[in-house]
Structures are given as C-alpha cells and as structure tokens.
Symmetry: C2
Subunit: 319 residues, 2 copies
C-alpha cells in the first residue's frame, strides 16, 4: 500500500497520504481478496496488488467519511483532515484514488477489476449520500433539507449499508476469484459470501458503536448518536420496541444540536433494555450461516475453512 | 459526459453531479484530444469516450479547486459545493472520478490511457498542493504553516502551473494520438505541443484574472489577490519591477485577511503600470510558436492547421 501511495507523491506530501493507512486496521478486506484467490486455485502473489487496491478503497472512503462526519479521531489517532487541515485531507483522498488505480492496473485481468472497483466506489458514494440524509439535525442547506429522511425504515437502512459496507466486501471477494481466473460460478459464490458477510459486519459494527468498551473501539462510544444518525440498526429496532415516552426521548436526543454525554449514556441505557440487540444478533447469525454455505463449491477446502473462520470472527467480535 | 456521469448515479444525485458540466466551458481539452486523434490519422469516433473523460478530469479538478479556494461563483453560477453544500460537493467530485474511469475503460488502448489519466490527476493534486502553499495568509494549520512559501520564485511558479494546468493539456493531446494508434514520435510531439500550449494558456489566464472585463470572465476580477495567491505570473514579475514602496503595498494587500475592493483595484492599477504584462505576452508568444513548430510532422495537414489556430486563440484571448 505504501508503495502504491508513494507513486507520484512528493516527499512533503507522503507524510500526509501515509497517515491514514499507517493508523492500522484489521485488514479484513485484503485478507478476503487473497483468500478467495487461493480458494479458487490461484496463488497469493497473483492477488497482492489487487488486495492492496481494495484496502486502499476502504481507507479512501474512511478519509472522506471522516471529513463528511466531522470526525476528529479514528483508531485513537487524529483523522487525516484534523491533522493536516481540510484542504490537505481532500487532496490526500484524491491522491488515494490514483494509488487505487495503480493497484488495479497492476492486477491480472485488470479491466474487469478496474470496472468492479469503479462500480463499488460509486456505490460507496451513494451509501455515504444516504447516510448523510439519514441525519436527524435540520440542515441549513436546501438540497439536504429537501432530500433528508424524516423517518428511516429497515429497508432504507439495508439499502444504505448495502452500498456503504457490503458492496466493498462483496468486491473484495469477487476480485480475488478474478485474480485466479476463477469461473463465473465461483465469482457469483464469492459475491454472495461477501455481500452477506458485509451486512453481518455492519450489524456487528452498529452494536459495537453503542455497546463496545470504549478503549477497544478507538473512537467515542455512541458516535452515531452524537452524529444524529438514524442509520444504526439497533436504534431502528429499539424505536419500534420502546414505550412512547422513551421513544420520544431517544428521538429528541438524536435531534438535539449538541447532545450531552449523560444524554447519550441514558439513550444507550434505554437501547440496552430492549430486545434490539438480540434481534440483530439473530439476523447476523443467519447471514453468517448463509455466507458459509455459499462457498461450499470452492476447490481449495483448506482455505474455505479459513474463510468460514473469518466470517465467524466478524460475528463474534461484537456479540 | 452526461452519459458517463449518469452511470451509477441515483436520480436524486444526478442533479448534483450534472451541475458542474452543465455550467459550460470552452471545451478546449476534448477538442485537442479529438483533433490529435484525427491529426494522427484516426477517426473522431475513436476518441469520443477519451475526450469526454479528459474534459471530466478538468471539471473534477474545478469542483475540488472551488472547495479548496472557498470559491462561490464560476461561470456566473454558484459552484457545486456552494449550491449543494460541502458534503455533496465532495461526494460529487468522488463520483466524477468514477465517470472518468468509465470513459477511460471505454477508450481504445485503455490501459495506456488509464495510466496517463492517473498520472495526470496526481500531478493536478501536486499543483493544487503547491498553489495552496503559495497563499500569503498565515495559516492556523501546522502542516500548511510549516510548508508555506514565504517567497515564490518564477521556477516555483512554473513548477506549480506545469502540474496544475499544462499536465492536463499535455495529456489531452497525447491520449488523442494513442486513440489513433499513433507512433511514439507523434505521441512525443503531441506532448510537447500540449505542454507548451498549457503554459501559454496559464500565462494568459493570469493576465485575464487581473485585467479582463469582469462580465466576460464570469468571476470576480483579481480573484488571485482576494485569495492571497502569489501564484500569478503578472504579480511575480511586477514585484521585481515595482518601487520598494509599491512592492511593499502589493505584498501587504496580498497578506491582509480581507482586502477591500479599493485595495484590489489599486493593486491592479500598480501592476498595470509595470512592463510585467508585456514580458508575459512575449513569453506566451514564444511558447505558442514553439508549440506550432512541434506538430509539423503530423500526417493530416488540414487538422494540423486547425490545431495551430486553436493555440493562437489561447494566446489571443488575453493579449
């Protein structure tokens, strides 16, 4: 990744563009790309540039997401735009896209891979657009106010996280198979696995955002509440389960300009008392099982086993 | 361009992404791509997707440039981020990059073209980075303040506009030849033409920014002064020609937080009294002549003549 990012970046600029990837991360997406390449009978080396490109897509979206959400801290470090200013945050993200391009140009079957990456980034943009419009604070911008969601259904939510999270995990899996020249059937199975794992991953993330231990999370607990987001599945389910009074209270906090820490804690307490978390847990479990089933047809059984362990990890980290 | 932009954009989002290209423009860059394709013996149709991608690169850079420069108006219309808010300005620009990708994937010899476009966008980013660092207002951001240019030499300036303007005109010409499967010699000649025309184009733009008629310009006269930029060649030459008192006055206005309209007018008056404009004019004339000479070897003489007329237009529009 650093090699791809260094290409065409002046010395003074490298510090800025390296910051985001050097902050670390679980690297689940590139692991999926490499494992799916191997599962389909390819070699790890065939998938390295592509895997790096995929992880850079993720980091590209994080830089932009932090600007859009006005987020100061990620993985216990200042975000790129906070550390280097908004202008350099934007320029860094623009440079990331070309590092991604470099990685996809170095991939086997690069035309197919470039197309998947382009489609996926467009989906990330649409997911981010919906996420912004799910915000519950009235906006002084005409376009936002006109298109803002006053209520968010579970279908709206699934559409948003499909674009914002599952699409990239689906792409990570699919391009792995393409690096190995895998059949259309294997590509299709990889897509299904990635999509379902991706939705499960986001459900887990929503639970973690509200109920994790703060030090492990690396960012503020209840970030979705502070950011006035209705795009958290636990909140959406809870709204259907709470008493009218509690429901109104939760919505009032979500819609208040600057919720206090004690407001947020109280909201989290209310959410915890509902069955929302276990409904989400059951749904995630179901998706994880379906994902595992979808990859039975891969020839390399050793690697298929690892993929199943990986999707279990996604599930277990939060429940 | 609208077709490429519509791909993967939801109905609600199309309005946002169409705004920038629908504001118009001279379309010089796609004209160069098509003409160089024809000059090298190719057909116009072979270059259409590529030409659209090149003009989208230009518009992509304009959306970002307006965000970074805090610019409200372009071509007599509100800029994308002013009209739709910062978040949607950023999301629109991100979507533009994928419309560019779509255009380059539809190009003949698309791998070569994708690489040139990626290299060029990285150069645009570096040019924008330098342009930001040429600003004369002290910044409260550590990175900007550490790397800011206290003085800007003519070499610094040429490096900046090389990246920010000439690189894309060079790419526009080169990819045209590649669409026609033109020889390495023709590619090289096209690059030289584009680079020199690009520098001349920027010199003309700097003159226009200070001395044009405001209604024709479509934006505020003296924008570079309001934006505290030392990245204008007329200002750089003038600083060497003015008396110490006048020089100090010009720098004081450039470094003041909010220069008044009468300050800016007085600065423009002082700049006008120097020989800076005619020095710039001579340099542009020289570059235009060299550019014309570099394309003598193209087989299609009809089109070569048109290219020469185009580069003359670039020169004449400002002097």
């Amino acid at each position: 990744m650093l090699e791809l990012l260094a290409t065409g970046a002046s010395n003074d600029f490298q510090e800025v563009v390296f910051h985001q990837v050097q902050a670390g991360g679980k690297r689940i997406r590139p692991a999926l790309t490499i494992l799916f390449c191997e599962a389909a009978g390819g070699k790890m080396e065939d998938a390295l540039s592509t895997a790096a490109a995929i992880e850079l897509v993720h980091n590209y979206s994080l830089i932009l997401d932090d600007i859009i959400d006005d987020a100061d801290v990620r993985r216990n470090l200042p975000t790129t735009w906070t550390k280097y200013g908004l202008n350099f945050g934007i320029l860094a993200s623009t440079h990331y896209r070309e590092a991604i391009e470099e990685g996809s140009l170095q991939s086997p079957n690069h035309k197919a891979i470039s197309r998947i990456i382009a489609d996926t980034i467009r989906e990330l943009v649409e997911g981010e657009r919906l996420d912004v419009l799910f915000e519950q604070l009235p906006s002084d911008e005409d376009y936002t106010e006109k298109h803002r969601f006053r209520e968010v259904s579970l279908e709206d939510y699934e559409r948003m996280i499909g674009y914002k999270t599952a699409a990239l995990l689906r792409a990570a899996c699919e391009v792995g198979v393409i690096c190995a020249n895998g059949s259309k059937d294997l590509q299709h199975a990889a897509r299904e696995f990635g999509w379902k794992a991706g939705i499960a991953f986001q459900l887990a993330d929503d639970v973690l955002d509200l109920f994790a231990e703060e030090e492990k999370l690396g960012k503020k607990l209840g970030k979705d509440i502070y950011e006035h987001k209705l795009g958290n599945v636990v909140i959406l389910h809870s709204l259907q389960l709470l008493s009218t009074d509690d429901r109104d209270y939760v919505l009032r906090v979500l819609r208040s300009e600057t919720p206090t820490e004690s407001d947020v804690k109280k909201v989290i307490g209310l959410l915890k008392q509902t069955d929302a978390s276990s409904i989400v847990k059951d749904r995630a479990k179901e998706l994880v099982n379906e994902a595992k089933k979808s990859i039975e047809l891969f020839p390399n059984k050793e690697v298929t086993k690892l993929l199943k362990a990986l999707v279990d990890f996604i599930y277990q980290r939060s429940f």
